[in-house]
Symmetry: C2
Subunit: 149 residues, 2 copies
DNA sequence: TTATTTAGTTCGCTCTAACGAAATACAGGA
DNA sequence: TCCTGTATTTCGTTAGAGCGAACTAAATAA
């Protein structure tokens, strides 16, 4: 395959890969009964750990009032817990409830298994290459996203 | 790096890669003034070509009434055009307006350039490996998504 | 102590996007 | 032709998620 064709195929495959990722995320959120904003908030908490309500507002661009409602919904659905900050008792820390999200781990089983099977077909050197590619590719996307802010 | 660590790192990098893909998609949609449903519909049209309103309903899970409104919004924003089917004049074919989406190509410039730069650092053999990985990985995600339907 | 600022919540409102039911327009067979 | 079924639209309604303004509680400065 010529380099030119190779690059064109990669562009197409990359688009397709992104699309399937988005569709999978959407499907998982739907199955968990989450809206866009709720899913995004849960992801924030997963990546950054427990956050104060105001911090969620900062990261999400929502107003404090909206964040209150958002936390209400997530709490009602059993995904997070409110905790009064003992240092500053005005603040409310929002924390993921592991017992609440645990039941949905099964949703990822197919993907996890599928990827494990996929990885099993590669040598260590090949996996190192793929790992590096994934990291650098993610960085490109992150930078591009920031450039749209 | 041990195989075990490698696999763990890949799992993390893969999650991160997905997250950045979703964030990029979200940011692009926001910039284009599109809601989730509208973006999804445009993506359908991009991948499958012009579709009848009813076909969009089928693919999206929306009711015909909702699809009518959806097309109204996309049309008002200049992204699609309604065309009466000449064979069956009850049907309405929805087609992407290239002149409507063209202006937003710039949103992808950073990603395209970034990825080109990234690809440039690999040999043909390495790119073949990456291409194969992307395709197989997308297939895993597609299958997993279908499993949640 | 008292006043001010800060963190979060509550309230009332609005806007959007979805829905079901009824209407419209056309196709295709009796 | 006339009738039945199909594709889409229109209409009226509903539910959800966001906002600003007003409120409560707690920290901090005067």
């Amino acid at each position: 395959m010529s380099r030119e064709r190779l690059l064109a195929a990669l562009a197409e495959a990359g688009r397709e890969h992104s699309t399937t990722a988005v569709m999978f995320h959407t499907a998982v959120s739907a199955r968990m009964g989450l809206g866009m904003t709720e899913a995004k908030a849960l992801d924030l908490l997963r990546r950054l750990g427990p956050l104060a309500a105001g911090e969620i507002a900062g990261h999400s661009g929502l107003t404090p009032a909206s964040v209150s409602g958002l936390i209400d919904r997530l709490e009602r659905k059993g995904f997070v817990r409110r905790i009064r900050d003992t240092e500053d008792r005005r603040r409310v820390i929002v924390e993921i409830r592991n017992d609440g999200v645990a039941g949905f781990g099964a949703l990822f089983e197919d993907v996890v298994q599928g990827l494990e099977g996929l990885y099993a077909t590669y040598t260590d050197e090949q996996l190192e290459l793929i790992l590096d590619f994934l990291r650098r590719s993610a960085e490109v996307q992150r930078a591009a996203t920031a450039g749209l802010g």
